[in-house]
């Protein structure tokens, strides 16, 4: 059945959707230790001037500049049928993207933020057409206005979902599909092969590199081909050359976790172990530091659980155990076998929405206190792994959006500079200086490494302190030094306490400095730990300088104390240590 779309907002639901945790507004506190985003802007402006006579290169620079002003682009990528569209729906909090048993995403679909739902079609030849939004059973369905999928560059959907305010989410066709041009399109977007023009990224040249800034990569097993794609993406999106090997812009998702080991009740526990094992694998680690398990179907179903579905579940749970077990023996049996209490059509609907695992889980949860729709939906959602993933996306991507964009832009500029001699001989030097001085990028890597448990020799408290200090929860000095928060994990619950005095910050910074200096100087520590110490020492020094300035001028520290943009200023605070 086709229904026209409601004028605004998500469709009405009986169960509440869980709002995506909001990151604190970025304007609130922006002490930038070295201001890489600003430096990148300045650098790109200089590059635009230098390449003014070379139209191809100027186009590349212009594209890179444009990217800095857009929202962060996050692609959801993975092999065919890994659950990309399901995850996208779960992240948006409603069933928007079409999902199906067969392959169904053949065109990259970009979801951008906007007040009212609408959609546009971008053709390969540069044409743009508005699309009529139609929803079939809640899902969007596009008829491509008479164009075949290979002619279409992308579909852009404007949607009023909160998460889109922080980043553009891109649903990509599956890799390794038999529809080769669709797979190729996804590959071009994530990691274009040298010499190929990636048409999906708009006016892009090979030099602009990946069309996205960050990835949520869905894995089911450790496929060699998946790791190759990730390796290509890492190489193309990281401005530093080689050695660092700590990608900050990839979150691995062990998708379809509910199907692990045949979908038994222990599937989620097993999948958690698997995800941990994947992230520890020395072959996976260099391309993807974190792997989180996700039961996408359960998450999507739980977020939009309807009253009728809850009723069906309750009746199913009320059945004698023997009879229910017989129904749940196989998927086919569950949707076809006759039973007086719950009609086969009802069961079919349940199986489509929650999957067999979700139903089994609900059967266990219902008798144990989760007998209200809200409570059941919340518990299902919690167990699906989605909240942890959302938290990781906010922590790693939303907070660091500017940095990640700058990082992609720098990588693109680096490729441009490496491709041929630059008309402005000073530009390569400035580029090098900016990359070397990018202390905030270093902090970002450190946070990623700490989150993945990649720094040995720190106790949990130290890890938490190190993450906080490196800016994982916010970059204003008080947050970094742990002076404002009661609960360090959840910035949303930050109490409205008065900002600490500059003197207090100075003292805390000095204390932290002493600690991390000791760590950095410990000759017995492993290299990663020493590097962690060095990075944090530099952070503390920058904080101290900021606090000293503030004390001198007697200003509250909540006011942004931004170091002026430009590469020379960027490297200033740490001149003494490097």
């Amino acid at each position: 059945m086709t229904t026209p779309i409601p004028p605004s907002g998500p469709v009405t639901q009986t169960a509440p959707t869980r709002p995506v945790t909001q990151a604190p507004p970025t304007t609130q506190a922006t002490l930038r230790i070295s201001g890489t985003p600003e430096a990148t802007r300045a650098l790109l402006a200089a590059a635009a001037r230098a390449y003014a006579t070379d139209p191809a290169a100027a186009g590349t620079v212009h594209a890179l500049q444009g990217r800095l002003d857009e929202p962060l682009r996050v692609a959801i990528a993975g092999r065919l049928k890994a659950g990309k569209s399901t995850l996208l729906n779960a992240l948006l909090g409603e069933e928007v993207a079409a999902t199906d048993a067969g392959e169904c995403t053949l065109v990259s679909t970009w979801y951008v933020h906007g007040p009212t739902p609408s959609a546009r079609l971008f053709l390969l030849d540069g044409g743009i057409q508005p699309l009529v939004l139609r929803r079939v059973e809640g899902r969007l369905s596009f008829d491509l206005a008479g164009h075949a999928p290979p002619e279409v560059a992308r579909i852009e959907v404007t949607w009023p979902a909160p998460v889109l305010a922080q980043m553009t989410l891109i649903d990509t066709p599956g890799l390794g599909s038999l529809t080769t041009e669709a797979s190729q399109r996804a590959q071009d977007l994530v990691a274009p092969a040298a010499g190929r023009v990636a048409p999906t990224a708009g006016p892009a040249t090979p030099a602009t590199g990946p069309g996205v800034d960050a990835l949520i990569f869905l894995l089911r097993h450790r496929h060699a081909a998946d790791l190759e794609v990730l390796e290509d993406f890492r190489r193309q999106s990281d401005p530093s050359t080689g050695a660092e090997n700590q990608p900050t812009n990839v979150i691995g998702v062990l998708s379809r976790a509910d199907e692990v080991g045949g979908g038994g009740l222990d599937a989620l526990i097993k999948s958690q172990d698997m995800a941990t094992a994947y992230a520890r694998d020395p072959r996976v680690r260099p391309v993807c530091q974190r792997v989180l398990p996700l039961a996408g179907l359960v998450a999507q179903g739980a977020q939009t659980l309807r009253q009728t579905e809850f009723e069906s579940l309750r009746r199913l749970a009320a059945m004698p155990r023997e009879r229910r077990e017989l129904l749940l023996v196989s998927a086919r049996r569950f949707i076809t076998a006759p039973d007086p209490d719950v009609a086969p059509e009802e069961r079919r609907a349940l199986a489509d929405r929650l999957g067999l695992f979700g139903i089994r889980l609900a059967m266990v949860l219902l008798p144990y206190g989760h007998d209200e729709p809200m409570s059941l939906a919340d518990e299902l959602l919690r167990r699906s792994g989605l909240p942890a993933l959302q938290q990781a996306v906010v922590d790693t991507y939303a907070r660091a959006a500017d940095l990640l964009k700058a990082s992609t832009a720098l990588a693109g500029l680096g490729r441009l500079l490496a491709a041929g001699p630059c008309p402005d001989p000073d530009l390569p030097r400035r580029f090098e200086a900016t990359v070397l001085a990018a202390h905030d990028l270093r902090e970002l890597r450190l946070v990623a490494r700490l989150s993945a448990g990649g720094v040995p020799g720190l106790d949990p408290e130290e890890v938490a302190a190190a993450r906080r200090l490196a800016g994982a929860y916010g970059t204003d000095p008080a947050t970094r030094l742990g002076l404002t928060e009661d609960r360090e994990d959840d910035p949303a619950t930050r109490p409205g306490r008065a900002a600490p005095a500059a003197e207090e910050i100075r003292r805390a910074a000095l204390e932290a400095l002493a600690h991390w200096r000791r760590v950095a100087a410990d000759p017995l520590a492993v290299r990663t730990l020493r590097e962690c110490g060095e990075t944090l020492t530099r952070t503390c020094e920058a904080l101290l300088i900021g606090a000293t300035v503030a004390t001198g001028e007697d200003r509250p520290t909540a006011t942004p104390t931004t170091v002026p943009p430009g590469d020379d200023a960027a490297s200033a605070p740490s001149a003494g240590t490097s």
Binding site: L80, A101, R283
Partner: protein, 609 residues
């Protein structure tokens, strides 16, 4: 009529005629019929449920099944009572053969293990504990399904991070009689899967596509439909069989026939019994029937002229003339200068030189790629994976070469067969050339690479050695200006030169590593090329010899039949009337039996194979 009885009667007939050469040929056919081993390889990407499928088929936990750890060692499951299990171990250094060497030749060493522990040796979980290298695990269990000579081989999946297993699977393909390609119902077939299947089918065309885990996926009928479509579009019309190993286990545990039907296994078992084992049996039956036909043809060729001469002595000269002409033709076929001999000799010569060029060319490309890879990176960091990568590249290059060799040989065999009657050509023994089994067995393991890593003390020494000259040089110069030998200028120069020496040393070491690595690669490829060319030429020569022997034998038999006929026809003239009548009756009886047998043989041949 049963095949055994059928062959026995033909043997009796040939023995009566004192044709030991024909008897021998029939005995060979009988042996072929008596040994019915049919090997079915279960292949596919990893974590698709291959091991669970094998376990469910034989209703015994012989293969390792795990949520995460993939199978690493092939497991051969065959009939045996009482049940036994053993591990077949590699005798040589690791890195050469895999499943291939194991399945083909007689294995070198094996160790019995308790059946219930066998699965523990075959997955990723096992590796750290087993120091010995396990080539494959083997379980012999008394199961009705295995009774007909069926051997099911669970293979490590392709597409894992550890590429070694996949190469082993690929090289074992030609030795298989049939394939079960496994993909699960969670998604449709992917491009890499289809690519693998297409290659696999070139080596082993008898295959079925098994869709597993249907119990966990509501939409499996759709997936089966989509997969059928994909296969059809790729021109591979394989049967697609959806199954659920879990339901089969449950059904057997609860003795639930309905559940068993739902598991899809009845269809799979039928496919194995009728389409695979049955097909293999029919194929063997056909070749046996062919042997019988050719033997009866030979016998009749001797008896028919004698009979007509006996019945009408006046036609004797005509008969003799025809016979002598036929004998002369048969004789001509036996000559070394016969046309088929020339076709075979020339064809083989061309083939060998083409093949040699092909192998060299392919290996040269591999070497070039390997050198490029070494130049692009530091061998020290990539060497661990490099050996595996190189072997995989070499393996795939060689598989292509060998496949091509097999195709060319078949073509050549056809060319030669055109010089003979149809039945003689049909009975040509099939040669397995493309089997890369054990080809690399005698290639020495890859040489280890000296990483030229240096200890801190050595680094210091290098630096010191460099700085020594600097200190001395500048110390002496500044000494002339009245300063001490050790002064800030000379120390500064020392530090600079020391640093320079150290950096140069590091670059030298890298260059040396690269040169060494390239040498190792070249030596390895050279070793492989040497060995492979030898094996390839040996095999082709063997094929040539087999073909020559086969057709010479055919020509011999033909010639002998003609000679016998001439002798007996000439004897007719001297015989008395009573003797003659007796001989006529005897011959008619023999001819009638031969006709009957030939008819039976044709019926067997006519059956769809």
């Amino acid at each position: 009529m049963k095949i055994e009885e059928f062959v026995d009667r033909t043997v009796a007939l040939a023995a009566d005629a004192h044709r030991t050469d024909l008897v021998e040929r029939l005995e060979r056919a009988r042996r072929r019929w008596a040994d019915p081993a049919v090997r079915v390889l279960v292949v596919g990407e990893f974590k698709q449920g291959k091991s669970a499928l094998v376990n469910a088929l034989v209703t015994a936990p012989v293969c390792a099944v795990d949520v995460e750890a993939a199978t690493t060692v092939p497991t051969v499951v065959k009939y045996g009572a009482p049940p036994t299990a053993r591990l077949v171990l590699a005798d040589h250094t690791p890195g050469d053969v895999g499943l291939a060497g194991a399945l083909g030749d007689e294995p070198t060493r094996s160790r019995p293990v308790p059946l219930d522990q066998l699965a523990g040796f075959a997955s990723e979980r096992a590796h750290p504990d087993t120091v010995e290298r396990v080539l494959y695990a083997e379980a012999a269990i008394p199961r009705a399904i295995l009774d007909g000579g069926l051997e099911i081989v669970d293979t490590p999946g392709v597409g894992t991070l550890t590429s070694g297993y996949a190469g082993a699977t690929a090289s074992a393909l030609p030795a298989a009689d049939a394939l079960l390609f496994v993909s699960d119902a969670s998604r449709e077939l992917t491009a890499p899967e289809l690519a693998f299947l297409t290659t696999a089918l070139r080596s082993c065309p008898n295959a079925a596509c098994i869709i597993t885990k249907t119990d966990a996926h509501v939409e499996w009928p759709r997936i089966v439909e989509i997969d059928r479509g994909h296969l059809h579009r790729a021109g591979l019309d394989l049967p697609v069989i959806p199954v659920s190993s879990r339901l089969r286990d449950l059904a057997i545990r609860h003795q639930d026939a309905e559940l068993h039907d739902e598991s899809g296994f009845p269809e799979l078992v039928r496919h194995l019994r009728e389409d695979i084992v049955g097909q293999a049996r029919r194929l063997t039956a056909r070749t046996v029937a062919n042997d019988v036909l050719s033997v009866t043809d030979n016998l009749r060729a001797g008896w028919q002229p004698e009979l007509s001469a006996l019945e009408d002595p006046r036609r004797l000269p005509d008969v003799l003339r025809t016979l002598e002409q036929a004998q002369a033709e048969a004789q001509a076929l036996r000559e070394r200068s016969a046309r088929w001999q020339i076709a075979l000799g020339d064809g083989m010569g061309d083939l060998v030189s083409d093949l040699e060029h092909d192998v060299r060319e392919r290996l040269r490309i591999v070497t070039r790629d390997a050198e490029a890879a070494i130049d692009a990176d530091d061998p020290a960091t990539m060497w661990d994976e490099f050996g595996g990568w190189l072997d995989e590249r070499v393996n795939s290059a060689l598989s292509e070469s060998f496949l091509w060799a097999e195709e060319s040989t078949r073509w050549l065999a056809q060319q030669v067969a055109e010089h003979f009657s149809a039945s003689a050509a049909d009975a040509m023994p099939v040669a397995q050339i493309s089997d890369t089994t054990g080809v690399l067995e005698r290639v020495p393991a890859m040489a280890t690479l000296d990483m030229h890593t240096v200890r801190l003390s050595q680094k210091l020494l290098v630096g010191m050695r460099g700085s020594y000259g600097g200190v001395l040089m500048f110390g002496l110069l500044t000494g002339m200006a009245g300063m001490a030998l050790i002064n800030p200028i000379s120390i500064g120069a020392g530090v600079l030169l020391g640093g320079k020496a150290y950096v140069e040393d590091r670059q030298n070491r890298l260059a040396r590593r690269r040169a060494d690595a390239k040498n190792v690669v070249r030596r390895r490829v050279d070793d492989i090329q040497f060995q492979v060319l030898k094996v390839m030429k040996d095999r082709l020569r063997l094929v040539q010899r087999t073909m020559r022997d086969h057709y010479t034998e055919v020509a011999d038999q033909l010639q002998r039949s003609m000679a016998d006929s001439i002798v007996s026809a000439k004897a007719v003239a001297k015989q008395g009337a009573a003797e003659r009548d007796q001989r006529i009756a005897e011959l008619k009886r023999s001819l009638a039996t031969a006709d009957q047998l030939a008819q039976g043989g044709r019926r067997l041949m006519g059956q769809p194979a």
